[in-house]
Amino acid sequence: MHQRLLPFAVAFVFAGCGGPTADAPKGSTALRKVAPGELRTPADFAGIEDTRARSSALFLEASRVLTHPRCVNCHPNGDIPHQGMNMQLHDPPAVRGPDNHGVVGMECTSCHQDRNQELTRVPGAPHWALAPIQMAWVGKSPHEICEQMKDPKRNGGKSLAAIVEHNAHDALVGWGWHPGADREPVPGTQEQFGAIVAAWVESGAACPAKGARP
């Protein structure tokens, strides 16, 4: 199933990060142009007077991180993780297993350590694992990811405050900015990302419209 979805997912992700700059959301005050590897700050959104529109725009900015292959690869919509900027299926063949940590003999931590192994290029961070299937992001739009992230049934029972804390400080989330070897990091820094997510929550945690893209 996810193999069939993969081309769409890849097209979607590239649409989000492929251009030289990330464009401003339509119908709002033009946002500062930034390079693909840079994140805007909450102050860049202050000119959007309508609170709901500002909140949606902040989530779209966050989605430049959330939809990056570095994040999406371990949020598969099937039972196999992805890897690389082309989101190929994980090789060696690893599967989700009953608790998202792999299966006996092929646990995530059979190979992945608590930090990147630079000489062997094996990526690592504390509590390396797949996101539960309820948190699948492969093939999902920013709108869908936003709705999932706010839904305690699908976000691990987290409050919005806990979501901010998780995104701002969790070590496995933080791996996205320090992926090691020659891997492309997600845009900005974890601190900047945490600030964007916090500003999104403070402005009412509105979700972008269904077709909206950053």
Binding site: P92, V104, E107, Q113
Partner: protein, 155 residues
């Protein structure tokens, strides 16, 4: 830094770089050469050992991760070679060159300990990270099935 590891039931204190791969510590420092170096990148499974019973690839596991914990290698699985998997391996003449086989047996041993009656899919998923360049896969699977009390051929 000194690292204390219980290796095959014996306490060892190693004065090594904590980032040294466990595989180096086992082979070069402790002389346990049953565990093999294949790819060195967690891609082949030749270096598989157990860390507190869990399968790890020793080539990418820093020795500090094993500090205060128990490591089992092929030498410690059954020192006299009497583990049911070892016996089945001999009976079915599983190995060809043999290079991958210590890793194959260590993964299979962890699988059967957790799931004494695995399905074919479970065998496949658990053994997927252990490659065999000689292509002895069908005999490896047959030996696991034999120990699990299943018909040796796939159903």
């Amino acid at each position: 830094m000194s690292v204390r590891i219980r290796v095959n039931g014996v306490e060892k204190t190693l004065d090594v770089d904590p980032e040294m791969p466990l595989l180096w510590a086992l082979r070069d420092v402790l002389g346990l050469t049953g565990t093999k170096y294949g790819c060195g990148q967690a891609l082949c499974g030749a270096c598989t050992v157990h860390l507190d019973g869990q399968v790890v690839r020793a080539c990418v596991t820093p020795v500090r991760r094993a500090d205060g914990r128990a490591v089992t290698t092929i030498e410690g699985l059954a020192p006299d070679g009497s583990h049911p998997l070892q016996r089945a391996w001999v009976e079915l003449a599983v190995p060809q060159c043999g290079y991958c086989q210590a890793g194959q047996i260590m993964t299979a041993a962890a699988l059967l300990k957790a799931k004494p009656k695995p399905t074919d899919d479970e065998i496949e998923q658990s053994m997927a990270g252990n490659l065999c360049r000689c292509g002895a896969y069908s005999r490896i699977r047959a030996a696991i099935r034999k120990v699990a009390g299943m018909p040796e051929g796939e159903q």
